[in-house]
């Protein structure tokens, strides 16, 4: 059994789970300035109140699993991305704190400050995630030991910036649909328009990114020649994107949310396909790339990891189910909340 391949697929699944779940609450943060009154702003925050913390655990678990199963990749990526990673950590802390503190005083200046922090940190975190994906597709220069050889500025290029913008549009769309499902009345009407706007921006950026990738990143599509079935992921992706406006027209909003979730999952699948068999692609010399085989832990650890994941994940899905079931339905102010 190809244990490294199984773990590569599981990590992709964890990343997809994270992107779908935290994606909508980051999206709510990005759309937060659109709320007009303090009541609306509180409503937005309370929509994600009980959920965001659990969603972020997916990122923590993804990080832990990467550390355990592909320690060489974990070490190389995090030390290479030192500065952007510190910015990300700063954004995630400030985001958690802004949710916590905005309701602690009624002073408008205090609330405006934390609203701004909530918006800014959500936007920054999403953009950085997108840049990291773009950077992963381009690759980074690595030496023989797998150590990053470049400088911080080498990480910033037009392609990572484009993917960063794509991520912002994608999560904004995902968050808008989620907010629409959780609200009613005048706010919901306005969100209806914003679902369309964000879908439109996402579509434009998606097409731009696809063209850029096809032209400039040949490695990203090389695997499609080996794996015929990979075309299926592209088809699913395109159908899911196309189904969003169809579902919105038909007023099947839950279906639209499922479609945007499938869109995200398919895009993570495409990322994994583009990288395989690399976890970290060396842009200077393909022999220095960290692959799922030369960067992985020992067989024993990969097996132990599968046992841990196999024991734990049924429970994780059960808790997640319980929490989302408990907090189902429309969110109204005046309940226990921020």
């Amino acid at each position: 059994m190809d244990l490294a391949l199984i773990w590569f697929a599981l990590l992709a699944a964890l990343l997809a789970g994270y992107a779908i779940l935290d994606g909508f609450d980051l999206g709510v943060g990005i759309l937060h300035p659109l709320a007009r009154t303090d009541g609306e702003r509180r409503l937005f925050v309370n929509v994600i109140g009980p959920l965001w913390d659990g969603n972020e655990v997916w990122l923590v678990t993804f990080g832990g699993a990467l550390f355990a199963m592909f320690p060489e990749a974990y070490a190389t990526v995090l030390s290479a991305l030192y500065v952007p990673f510190m910015m990300l950590l700063c954004a995630l802390i400030l985001r958690a704190v802004s949710l916590e503190f905005r309701g602690k005083s009624t002073s408008p200046a205090w609330r405006r400050l934390w609203d701004l922090v909530f918006f800014g940190s959500s936007l920054l975190a999403t953009f950085l995630f997108g840049m990291a994906v773009g950077g992963a597709l381009v690759g980074i220069p690595l030496d023989e030991r797998g150590l990053f050889m470049g400088r911080f500025v080498d990480l910033v290029g037009p392609y990572p910036v484009l993917v960063g913008m794509l991520a912002v549009a994608l999560f904004a769309m995902h968050g808008a649909i989620f907010l629409f499902l959780k609200t009613e009345g005048a706010v919901q009407e306005r969100l209806g328009r914003w679902m369309w706007h964000s879908w439109g921006s996402f579509l434009v950026l998606y097409m731009l990114t696809t063209m850029y990738t096809l032209v400039a990143i040949p490695r990203a599509t090389a695997n499609f020649e080996h794996f015929r079935w990979a075309a299926g992921v592209v088809v699913v992706n395109v159908l899911a994107i196309a189904n969003i406006p169809r579902a919105l027209f038909a007023r099947k909003y839950a279906q639209a949310f499922v479609s945007s979730s499938v869109t995200i999952a398919a895009m993570v699948g495409l990322l994994a396909l583009a990288l395989f068999p690399n976890v970290v692609t060396a842009s200077n010399d393909s022999a220095h790339s960290l692959t799922i085989y030369n960067a992985s832990s020992s067989r024993t650890t990969l097996v132990i990891g599968l046992i841990i994941a196999g024991t734990g994940f049924p429970f994780v899905l059960a808790y997640t189910g319980i929490v989302y079931w408990t907090f189902r339905g429309k969110v109204k102010l005046g309940e226990t909340g921020y």
Binding site: P50, V57, G64, A68, A75, S79, V97, I308, V316, I322
Partner: protein, 531 residues
């Protein structure tokens, strides 16, 4: 071991020192919150269980009040905890490559078994008062408490493995089927052999027990502090008396348990990490050892200045005999010795605080038995401030443990004879185990079977970068600390019944007033959700 890219040795040292400092700053700030969460979690379970059994609304009021503060602590704990997980990769990437195969499993287990449990049910605990029934709410509280204890289990396992590694072997990595050598240095790492030996390595249980006792002490002192303040101010008296009594019981038992567990743990440290214990005690020369009550260790002169010591005391604690020799720092090569001042000072301060907790809780318990505790204002005032000592003792214990294990980030095993005695080299120094490696020219060599802290730091990160991130963390955490204290104070001032006039979280008040009958709980619903 990874080669030092020694264009400038000073620069490398700088990155090591800065990265250690940053780790110390971020972990110590983070560690303000998990022990509070663990300690308070147990109290919440007790309060909700009592409410289910007796249906006495005072218990519900108390549970709701402490849940608000619990949630605030939890949120900051989570936000600062994410930093810890990723800092292994950002600042300690050479270490991460070396230990990932072993350490990573424990960390991943923590994520899957503990974090999901905690964060999922925290939502129900904090936001679910009106959405689920009391039994489901109690279940959620139990799950959050269990999750926070699971979390401490796995992180203590991971840390203990670095102190007293077991269940692994050191192997050379391969590239293209050949032993991997880069720049003349063989690339080695630790690989897991036996998962349960890793989990139950020689120090795990001792350290876990001591850590959890420390958490219970802190949680109990925290509640005693706030309750004592209410008693002094004659506010919420019935609520405060019940909270104080419960917490005092936990604090008394935990303080006594800490002394006992501390004794056995120290003996275990002597067995597994004798250099660390020698640093704790300022014991430089092997021989019968006095127990320094206080003093100022001087590593250059190899003695403790201004000390007051019990003659033969350390020998007695370790060997139950006043003149049996205790291994001192002279058994270790100078490059293998930990610094002495910081471990000595932090260890002694922790022990001193521990005995202070025992005295304080015994006196308080005695007065409670006599029925005069709540009139003893001087004692209540001490209890208001004693929580800072509990915070300090928890932090200082970790400082002693982590500085005392230097210079190793992963300690190599010491070579022992058949009876378990330490094997010394020709100069009378302790010998560390080595691993066999293949060098570039195919010859066989040896490398020490551990990792020095100075070799664990990220090779590609510069001192400027670490300095920048440290400034960021310093500002961010300073702000967080101020805000935490501000909100905490606000909640304490508002009290278990909430503010009567001010409405800190907006428009809930009307709805709750309309609900009418549940007067007790209206206040705690206001701003109830901090998760």
């Amino acid at each position: 071991m990874p080669p030092l890219r020694a264009t400038s040795t000073d620069l490398i040292m700088d990155v090591v020192a800065l990265s250690r400092l940053q780790f110390a700053l971020t972990i110590m700030f983070h560690y303000l919150f998990p022990p509070l969460t663990i300690g308070m979690g147990v109290v919440l379970v007790y309060l909700e269980a009592m409410f289910l059994r007796t249906a006495d609304p005072v218990y519900e009021t108390a549970a709701r009040f402490w849940t608000k503060i619990f949630a605030l602590n939890f949120a900051i704990g989570v936000a600062t905890g994410i930093v810890m997980e990723f800092q292994f990769g950002t600042n300690w990437s050479a270490y991460s490559r070396f230990v990932g195969d072993v350490f990573g499993s424990a960390l991943a287990a923590e994520g899957i078994f503990a974090f999901f449990l905690e964060s999922g049910f925290l939502a129900v605990l904090v936001f679910g008062w009106d959405r689920v029934g009391p039994r489901m709410h109690f279940f959620a509280t139990v799950m959050v408490a269990v999750g926070s204890i699971f979390s401490s289990v796995w992180i203590v396992v991971a840390n203990s493995w670095q102190q007293t590694p077991a269940g692994h072997h050191i192997v050379q990595m391969e590239r293209d089927g050949r032993p991997w050598v880069v720049g003349g240095e063989p690339v080695t790492r630790a690989e897991i052999v036996d998962f349960w030996e890793l989990v139950f390595n020689p120090s795990t249980m001792h350290r876990l027990v001591h850590v959890l006792i420390g958490c219970f002490i802190l949680g109990a002192f925290f509640i005693m502090s706030i309750s004592a303040w209410y008693l002094l101010k004659k506010r919420h008296v019935e609520f405060a008396r019940r909270s104080f009594t419960g917490a005092l019981l936990v604090a008394t038992l935990a303080s006594l348990a800490a002394v006992i567990s501390g004794h056995f743990q120290a003996k275990n440290v002597y067995r597994e990490q004798p250099a660390k214990l020698a640093a704790f005690e300022g014991h430089f020369r092997t021989g019968p050892a006095d127990l320094n009550l206080f003093g100022l260790p001087d590593s250059d002169a190899e003695r403790v200045a201004f000390g007051v010591a019990i003659p033969g005391g350390l020998s007695f604690l370790i060997h139950e005999s006043f003149d049996e020799p205790v291994i001192g720092l002279d058994r270790f090569r100078s490059e293998d010795r930990p610094p002495v001042l910081v471990p000595f000072a932090s260890y002694h301060a922790m022990v001193g605080l521990g005995f202070f907790f025992v005295t304080l809780t015994l006196v308080a318990s005695f007065l409670h038995w006599r029925g005069s505790l709540f009139e003893s204002r001087w004692l209540l005032w001490i209890c208001v401030f004693a929580v800072t000592g509990a915070v300090a003792a928890n932090e200082l214990g970790w400082v002693a443990a982590e500085v005392g294990r230097q210079p190793w980030i992963v300690q190599p095993p010491m070579i022992r004879d058949a009876d378990g005695g330490l094997v010394l080299d020709s100069e009378g120094r302790v010998r560390y185990a080595t691993a066999t490696v293949t060098l570039e020219d195919g010859t066989i060599g040896e490398r020490v079977a551990g990792l020095r802290t100075s070799d664990g730091v990220s090779e590609v990160v510069t001192a400027e970068q670490v300095r920048g991130s440290m400034v960021m963390f310093g500002l961010l955490y300073g702000l967080l600390l101020l805000l935490w204290l501000y909100v905490l104070n606000d909640k304490i001032q508002a009290g278990p019944h909430g503010r009567e006039t001010s409405d800190s979280a907006g428009g809930e008040r009307e709805l709750l007033d309309a609900a009418g009958s549940r007067v007790d709980s209206t206040g705690s619903l206001t701003g109830g959700g901090e998760g």
